[in-house]
Amino acid sequence: MILEERHRNFRAKVREFAEGEVAARASELDRSGEFPWDLVKRMAELQLTAVYVPQEYGGAGLDMLHYAIAVEEIGRVCGSTGIFLAAHSSLGVFPIYYAGNEEQKKKWLIPLAKGEKIGSFGLTEPDAGSDAAATKTTAKREGDNYVVSGAKRFITSGSVADVLIITATQDPSKGYHGISAFVVEKGTRGFSYGKDEEKLGLHGSITSELIFEDCLIPKGNLLGKEGDGFRIFMETLDGGRISIGALALGIAQGALDAAVEFAKTSKKSGKPMYKWQSTQSMIAEMATDIEAARLLVYQAAALKDEGKPYVKEAAMAKYYASTVGTKAANMAIDIHGMLGITDMYPVERFIRDEKLMEIGEGTSEIQKIVIARQVLGK
């Protein structure tokens, strides 16, 4: 897909920041597991925290394709910073942009979009993963408040977020029609955190457990109407898939870049690595897979920008980019030989980061179900 000049220029701008300020931090974030507060601040200054949100709501006023490019470029140098950006923009910002009323947008969307506040999305529960509608967290209306009780797990940026959108059911017997979405602010009484997870990769991204014990949430924090929760989170995840596809693409490109660099600078049995046909074969395979993934991701973003149906294409983009991304990240290690598993080279990080792209925001299996449903029309 041939990008317009405005998208190309935007990529150049994001790349300059990514290579200049983020890349050098990636290995350290992976080792320390610290959250990159400073990079979040820089992304806010550069208007990257809500690329696709209109300027009147504090965003950059650009489109989904710009946003996908931003996530790709950040993810290319640092998966942890990339997943922060994707989760904040698609899961923290979007539900309020999509379903919030004017008052809610003024109160929460603007500071989130400007990056003054960090957003997060509490959907997954210990027993509600792929089956997201099986939420056990409950919300009971009491006067001007909802009383929320329950627990959420695997919540990206959960314990560092200022504003969280959570789902809870008012009536489990109604299934997904009983689910509503609420905004919860950090520090609300009855809202606390369990442990942050230790993970295979994405060590610089915080993954939290959220605990709600008779947590009082004002009725003005309800997004949309009661029972709108399912519609809101499905729409959120549809768009979120584009960002995870973009991140999978970026991480895969980062792995390819590392493999290319290694092939150009090392020798195997006395001959430059890149001159070996087996190296060329792997590089070609990775590059072709990644380019195909890029087309799918950009296509899904462009369709959403044009207001056309994009659910199938977004699921395909996420499924394909994460599948070939893991394969490419695996090959990138192989090109390094035994040095690829040591801390002499950053290459083993890519597959550890990339693997989550096959799981988060809908596993590959769920994506296949979404795609099949669309293709079969049933």
Binding site: T124, G129, S130, E197, E198, L200, N330, G337, I359, G360
Partner: protein, 370 residues
């Protein structure tokens, strides 16, 4: 009927090692991973069970068992802790084997007996990839050589009492034995993706002394010797990978039966069943290849080609299965509360400490094209 019959000694070793891992290793496997260290009492027990000297002849106070027995022991160990299995694999395949095959009578007498009584040896695989551009420098003073070189990956490095080092020169490759703490030898820390407790270090030599009586093999036969050692090690690495595969599969079956989504165990969904089936196929395929290779070695038949195929298949399979096990576990597979992410990292590490898959394929092809 199975293609392979397991004799009573082999049955015994499986039950002994499995009993040991279930009582002493499984309970501390996550501590071992967190601390990046195998506790010394576990290493001591491994030694007391005769596992470090498993393939050392009884004349040298070893256990005198065959390679099939070694594979069984490694497979069982790797199911609980691949780092521990790797330590035993390296000692038997990359240390004992070259000592037995190429060591002088004096070296055998001294070092094999040491291992049989609790010493651990290290091996520094020679990579054909050159990243530094610096060549290994050898200086000769009389009949003593001095080496200046860097080995980025030394297996069993932190545990070892002595090291087997391949040294490349114009005359070919030699294998030297060097005692721990020898002059000019500086170990340095290396962090690895997996096998984080297997004692992997880097080793730098600055004018390190190579004594002529500590040379196992040199000159033209050196290259061939190293290849023989590596071919033999393929069997051991393959067994470690097989244990990891088995662990990934068992964890996945258990999780799929327990985890409920959409009102039923996820094991009832065809997409999950397909993944489990593919995993099982990989395990069985690898097991047949591995024990075929081990049997051929024990029967003194040509085994090298099948060992390479076994190693390639089981290492690739272990990586693939490791990733699938994470997938089946979903979010839980990605966190350290469950062991499957470790199985994957360990599998990828075993694979590349052996031989990169492309190189292994080329070697298999070359053998046919000779």
């Amino acid at each position: 009927m199975s293609l392979f019959t397991i004799n009573s000694a082999q049955k015994l070793i499986r039950s002994e090692v499995s009993k040991f891992t279930s009582t002493e290793v499984e309970t501390v496997a996550s501590d071992i991973e967190r601390d990046c260290r195998i506790p010394s009492d576990i290493l001591q027990k491994i030694s007391q069970m005769g596992l470090f000297g498993l393939t050392i002849p009884e004349d040298y106070e070893g256990s005198g068992l065959d390679v099939t027995s070694l594979c069984i022991a490694l497979e069982e160990l790797a199911k609980s802790c691949a780092s521990l299995a790797m330590t035993v694999a390296v000692n038997n395949c990359l240390v004992n084997y070259p000592l037995i095959r190429y060591g002088s009578a004096e070296i055998k007498e001294e070092y094999l007996k040491k291992i049989a009584n609790g010493s651990i040896g290290a091996y520094a695989p020679l990579s054909d990839i050159d990243v530094s551009g610096k060549e290994c420098v050898l200086e000769a003073v009389g009949d003593i050589k001095y080496i200046s070189n860097r080995y980025h990956v030394v297996l069993n490095g932190t545990f070892a009492d002595f090291f087997i080092i391949p040294v490349k020169s114009d005359q070919g490759i030699s294998l030297f034995l060097i005692n721990k703490g020898a002059q000019g030898m500086n170990p340095y820390g290396v962090a690895t993706m997996g096998l984080r407790s297997a004692g992997i270090t880097g080793l730098e030599f600055k004018h390190g002394e190579l004594k002529p009586d500590m040379c196992l093999v040199s000159g033209e036969s050196g290259q061939q010797a190293i290849q023989s050692v590596l071919d033999y090690a393929h069997i051991g690495f393959s067994a470690v990978a097989l244990g990891l595969m088995q662990a990934s599969l068992e964890a996945s079956v258990k999780y799929a039966k327990e985890r409920k989504q959409f009102g039923r165990p996820i094991a009832e969904f065809p997409m999950v069943q397909e993944m489990l089936a593919e995993m099982k196929i990989e395990v069985e395929k690898s097991r047949l290849l591995l024990y075929e290779a081990a049997n051929r070695f024990d029967a003194d038949e040509e085994y090298r080609m099948i060992a390479r195929i076994a190693c390639l298949t089981s290492c690739e399979g272990a990586v693939k299965i490791g990733l699938k096990a994470i997938q089946i576990h979903g979010g839980y597979g990605y966190i350290k509360d469950y062991p499957v992410e470790r199985y994957f990292r360990d599998a990828k590490s075993v694979q590349l400490l052996g031989k990169a898959p492309t190189d292994m394929r080329l070697q298999i092809a070359k053998e046919m094209l000779l």
